[in-house]
Symmetry: C2
Subunit: 234 residues, 2 copies
């Protein structure tokens, strides 16, 4: 659960003037995930040279719900103009600020195996304002080397030091399942407050640390369930 900070125009005669009003309403993760989706839509629109877009037009083009777009955005401020819609560039800038990616976010990847190396060089991250600045492993064979794209691999024992030096804010867990809990504990102890986990099974994190898990097995099983059900309908 996060708090929201809503930007509200106080003096609507001075339209650029915004005031930070802090409230204690929680924002659901479903909402924040959709903000990312909207940002991706705006990137497309902006690249296509579109200047303004209504919630309706966006909903149609990207198969979303117009009321939900408006409601999600309205949580954070009054970004729209009645009768016009939203200014694409402006809304994009607002969303990047809300998501905290307007200044680059530094990310470390724990585990320099196949998956870790693939994630380190994944181009989609850098494009959106994330920078993979380090990988960590315990294997002597890997420490001191770099990924193909040049991300250095450090000894996991140096985690704390390098987290501080590189201002690492997010840790990605790409180690075998058996090692995952131990690595998460190390990551938390090093002062990282947000963790993206790719290992299967539940991990425990201390309070105040945000854990997001992408369990590949759960996703495949969900698809398998769908197949099993549709088969049975014969």
């Amino acid at each position: 659960m996060c708090l929201r900070i809503r930007l509200v125009k106080r003096e609507h005669k001075q339209p650029a003037q915004t005031v930070l009003r802090e409230s204690v309403e929680p924002v659901s993760e479903l909402t924040t995930n959709r903000l990312s989706v909207y940002l991706r839509c705006l990137n497309v629109l902006d690249a296509a040279g579109v200047r303004t877009v209504s919630s309706q037009a966006m909903a149609e083009q990207f198969h979303l719900n117009a009321a939900q777009i408006r409601k999600d955005l309205a949580y954070f401020g009054e970004f729209g103009v009645r009768g016009v819609g939203y200014y694409v560039k402006e809304l994009r800038r607002h969303l990047r600020q809300i998501l905290g990616i307007d200044r680059g976010v530094c990310v470390a990847i724990m585990g320099a195996g196949n998956l870790g190396l693939a994630l380190a060089d994944y181009p989609g991250f850098r494009d959106e304002g994330f920078e993979i600045v380090a990988m960590f492993d315990q294997s002597r064979d890997k420490i001191g080397h770099r990924s193909r794209a040049g991300v250095p691999i450090y000894d996991i024992r140096d985690l704390r030091k390098i987290v501080r030096r590189e201002r690492i804010q997010i840790g990605v867990i790409a180690v075998p399942a058996a090692a995952a809990q131990g690595v998460v504990d190390t990551v938390a102890a090093a002062g990282i407050k947000a963790v993206l986990n790719f290992s299967p099974g539940a991990l425990r994190v201390p309070d105040g640390i945000k854990l997001k898990s992408m369990d590949l097995t759960v996703s495949l099983e969900s698809l398998s369930f769908f197949l099993a059900q549709t088969e049975d309908k014969t």
Copy 2:
């Protein structure tokens, strides 16, 4: 939306006797995802030699909700024994059957780049009944080779033929974002009914095909949002 098939004991004097009762109630994806989680818990319990487990005990050990466990399981049958709980091995077998992984499920990976190769050799899949039988790419440099673990890389133009030959049921999209929609269309045309997508942005699939997306950027942005909010509380 899937249909559920509930196993209900009709003759409770013959406790092993179950009857398939087909109903039209939809099962939410949240529920099916939790079934995977329960299966993972049961694997742990079984490996630890535990014979029976109550919903309460499972909830405590794995930080779940007991009523939800019971309700989720009760959708599919009366697997528990009042006063006792659930037989671990038996429930595990039931869940594997419900999820359709009791007979191995064949999976193909589209795209033999870093991510595709990493997924192909990811050990967590095989462990749970999924077999990565093929990768597909369009690059001459890759076609004809194999992943380190031995998964063959085919020409994407041979997709239809190999899907039929290898009985491929699930396709995983691990190609660059720009190519993703085209590849999904090809996958759908080849008769695959379930797709796991790793590329960012929305994909359109024809009706009757199940698409599940794991958007890495959305997840990282969700974490970044959390960090941005907690910083502001200063």
